[in-house]
Symmetry: C2
Subunit: 239 residues, 2 copies
DNA sequence: CGTGCCCTTGAGTACAATCAACGTTCGTGG
DNA sequence: CCACGAACGTTGATTGTACTCAAGGGCACG
């Protein structure tokens, strides 16, 4: 059930048997969430965090005029709101983008972890810092990359992150999002998103259709995106 | 010396006498850094973190074409790279924007903290999550706010963050940045930055001149920015 | 088999970038 | 003390990327 979560952690550090059992003892039974459901709203007081087991979720913020910015996409294995453990309430919303399976962990258990399992604490601290690193890369995309580069970059990021949990390879990956969803990640309008995807398709770099990203030329996609995996911290280190 | 840092922490949670002594025992003597100096480069392996005592620093990432995105500004009292404790190396650079005074804390001491001071650990974990919240707000700005709203928003954020450490009030604050620096925060060109500042000045909202932000109409500035302090987590909570 | 959601494309517009020139300020050395 | 240069700021003219408005097509699902 939490195997994808463990794959994500073990891509970055060792997780001992004892730690694995501790994690398992924290995790609630799995429940299902319908697509498009916002499960956490900005400002809600929270007493547990959500582990995404299957599906895709996002963090988003809205402006008064109705425009929306997705600030991060979450894939299976991600702790989507581990940061609520110290923040107590969130500054953003969390929504299921596809049908999802989740489990939860009580903040009381996490507090116990900080008192009794320092290495695991550091590892989970690390994963929230990883989310921040993704935020920074998106800031760079939104502030400085062109529409086509930004789009290629998102596909590069998802290919690596989904790859870690066995859901992507060099040929591509399933991605059950609409062009409107992508536009909300990439800070553009749906119309321009459509034209940018057409551009990438016409250049034989990558094709997004039927809820699947088909990578035609991974090297060129990465070149267009100026993609480097460094911000995803894929080295195994003692954290 | 670390009084501004304590002000920042105590704006969000209690810090006991014992914890304060522990922090003091970690912190190295202060040293000075010249303006424009990049003190940490992406990829460097790090064994200590930097506490900013006076001045302003930034985190930035560059693209191959030379364009730069500043992903966060740091004010006195901020731990500018506490996240390097778990990340081991950074995905971005850190530069002094003004002459600065810093101190450092060894990661070995922070590791001891995670083993012996769980509440302080959670509080510092919180501060890295606070940085991530700022990143998210900037993603929203870069992706969805107009140039004028984005600019007003940055001034609003700095006014609050500097206010916490006693360096800003409702009338304004000192800000020793150039228009190029601001442009690199806000994802625009220096020319457009200049015109946007002129726009805000002509509207009698806020004026940036002589390295000072003079706030003419705080309420209107916040309205233009669609600013809310929620993402800065100003409530005192048991973290 | 219609209705709604998503995708696509065209036409016109606008916000911001680019290119270019000039002004201002300030530090420094002749 | 003034001349000079460098960095920063300002403005105008032009270009271009992306937005807006609009219409129509494809496809899935009830």
């Amino acid at each position: 059930m939490i195997d994808k979560h463990l794959l994500k952690l073990r891509a970055r550090d060792d997780v001992s048997e004892v730690e694995e059992s501790l994690i398992r003892s924290f995790v609630s039974p799995a429940t299902e969430i319908a697509a498009k459901k916002t499960i956490i709203r900005a400002g809600d007081r929270l007493s547990r965090s959500t582990l995404l087991l299957e599906g895709m979720m996002c963090r988003y913020k809205d402006l008064a005029n109705g425009s929306r910015q997705i600030t991060e996409l979450h894939v299976a294995g991600d702790f989507v709101d581990l940061h609520s453990f110290t923040l107590k309430r969130l500054d953003h919303n969390i929504m299921a983008m596809t049908p999802c399976v989740i489990a939860t962990v009580d903040h009381a258990d996490l507090k116990r972890m900080t008192e009794e399992a320092p290495h695991l604490t550091r590892l989970y601290w690390f994963t929230t810092n990883l989310d921040a690193a993704v935020h920074r890369e998106w800031e760079l995309s939104l502030g400085r990359r062109t529409a086509i580069s930004r789009t290629a970059h998102l596909f590069c990021e998802l290919q690596v992150r989904l790859g870690i949990v066995g859901l992507a390879d060099d040929k591509g990956f399933d991605l059950a999002l609409t062009q409107v969803d992508l536009a909300e990640c990439l800070g553009m309008t749906p119309v321009h998103m459509n034209r940018t995807l057409k551009d990438l398709r016409d250049q034989d770099v990558v094709e997004f259709r039927n809820r699947r990203v088909v990578i035609r030329d991974l090297a060129r996609m990465r070149r267009i995106a100026e993609f480097s995996t460094e911000y995803l911290y894929l080295d195994r280190e003692a954290r």
